[in-house]
Amino acid sequence: MNFDVNTIVYILEILIGGLLVGIGVHFVPVGGAPAAMAQAAGIGTGTVQLAAGSGLTGLLAAGLMMSVTDNLWLILASGAVGAGIMMGSTMLTGSWIYAYAVGAPFASAKVNYDPITGFSQPPYVAPGTVGQGIPTICFVSGLIGGMMGGLGGAMIYYPLYLINGNAALSAMFAIGIFLVNAVIASWNIQGTIEGFHDPKFKKWPFAFKACAIASILLAIASVMITGGA
């Protein structure tokens, strides 16, 4: 490998990508097992599954765009939109099940009024639960989170592909970096969060610091690998 100014740019791009993934996880309404039983607001699965899902879709979308153009902005936009569509369709189909199969009214227990629609929330929160379904504020927050995850995934994939020129290797490496950052961020929110209106969202600086350290170490390792013969 040749160490020059480009290498530093690649390291910075991977670092920013890792941070976007880490912060993006905080926006996604992760409900975990309680949400799967409609006893908490959010999507009924774990952070890593959601982050990995949106990130991998972002990678695929970015990789597809990369096969036709090498314009960085188009690749990033494609990754963000791909991941946003994945997260949006997950929340939409999940909502149908909560609305028509479980029969729960969507309500958030973390705010009294939905900041976007202004609807009152507490009367609709069933006793003993912390909200149900995916209210508007969670949906919007989830879309932002998904797009940040996809943007981060594309931001990691792009420099890796330029370094080693091997799509499969770059994708696997990006998945590795993605999973490390997503797990660290999900530890920070202790498994569940409703979105940017949740009090837990204020803990994001911890994840920012942790993801920055981890991403720098991963970035240094990833600029040193080659694409093979």
Binding site: A168, M172, L179, W187, N188, F206, L217, A221, G228
Partner: protein
């Protein structure tokens, strides 16, 4: 039955590291010395040692409760592992000696895992006493398991061969998930107040047997009939033997095993 019950974590770590490193070297040297690929199955056997070490690290860390579910830590182990594997193999190729690969992988994985553990305790403020060594173990276990299975599929430790046979073909996705299953699933399935080390670890060996069956199927395509069939048969034997053992242990620990029978006829 004394198999794998109440083993000290330090002893298990030594078994895991020595078993996986020696196994991978043995397979690589035998394969190149005899100019054949039938010894590739030793790589998948070496991965079993790493899996046992990883599953034990998962049960130590997750016994404290990490709030995000056991799968998250298994995916972290594999995420750290895949980066260590590709980094180490690439470095070994650059340095000119293929046999240096496993050592570089082990060092990078151990150090990186330890740093992640320190971050989790100091920055995220987990305050889990075994977090540093647990994450270090997990990272090394994930890396050695992935390396063992990659070797089982490609038959050599060469960087270009593993890239072509394992990554470009997409088999990496199968061993990624099968490896995650073997490392994270045992504790996820057996957790609870009556969790016992031998039951969890026997489950881990059983899952590693399933992973060996899948690497055998992949080896059919990359190395031909002999190497693939050998892995498939040995993997099936391991899975079957440890499935029976696991079932015995489940019956031992359950308060009662009863048949529920069929659904009762509809009553008005």
């Amino acid at each position: 039955m004394a198999f794998l019950s109440n083993v000290d974590p330090k002893k298990l770590r030594v078994y895991g590291l020595v078993g996986s490193v020696v196994g991978i070297y043995l397979g690589a040297i035998l394969n190149s010395a005899m100019d054949t690929n039938v010894f590739s199955f030793i790589g998948a056997i070496a991965a079993i040692f790493a899996v046992i070490m990883g599953a034990n690290a998962v049960r130590r860390v997750c016994a404290y409760g990490i709030g995000t579910g056991v799968p998250s830590i298994g995916m972290l182990a594999l995420g750290m592992g895949i980066i260590a594997v590709m980094f180490g193999l690439s470095m070994a190729e650059t340095l000119g000696s293929v046999l240096l690969g496993p050592i570089i992988i082990l060092i990078y994985a151990g150090v990186f895992g330890y740093i992640i553990g320190v971050i989790a305790n100091k920055v995220i403020k987990f305050n889990i006493p075994v977090m540093e060594e647990g994450n270090s173990d997990l990272s090394m276990a994930g890396a050695m398991a992935l390396l063992g299975w990659s070797f089982a599929i490609s038959g050599t430790l060469g960087y270009a061969d593993i890239l072509n046979d394992v990554l470009m073909t997409g088999y990496i996705a199968i061993i990624f998930i099968a490896g995650g299953l073997a490392i994270l699933h045992p504790f996820n399935a057996n957790l609870g107040p009556d969790e016992k080390q031998d039951r969890t670890l026997v489950n881990a060996v059983m899952c590693a047997g399933i992973a060996m069956i899948t690497t055998g199927i992949a080896a059919f395509m990359t190395q031909g009939l002999a190497a693939g069939l050998l892995q498939l048969v040995i993997g099936f034997v391991i899975w079957f033997y440890f499935f029976k053992m696991y079932y015995r242990l489940v019956k031992r620990d359950a308060s009662a095993v009863v048949g529920t029978g069929l659904l009762p006829p509809t009553v008005q």
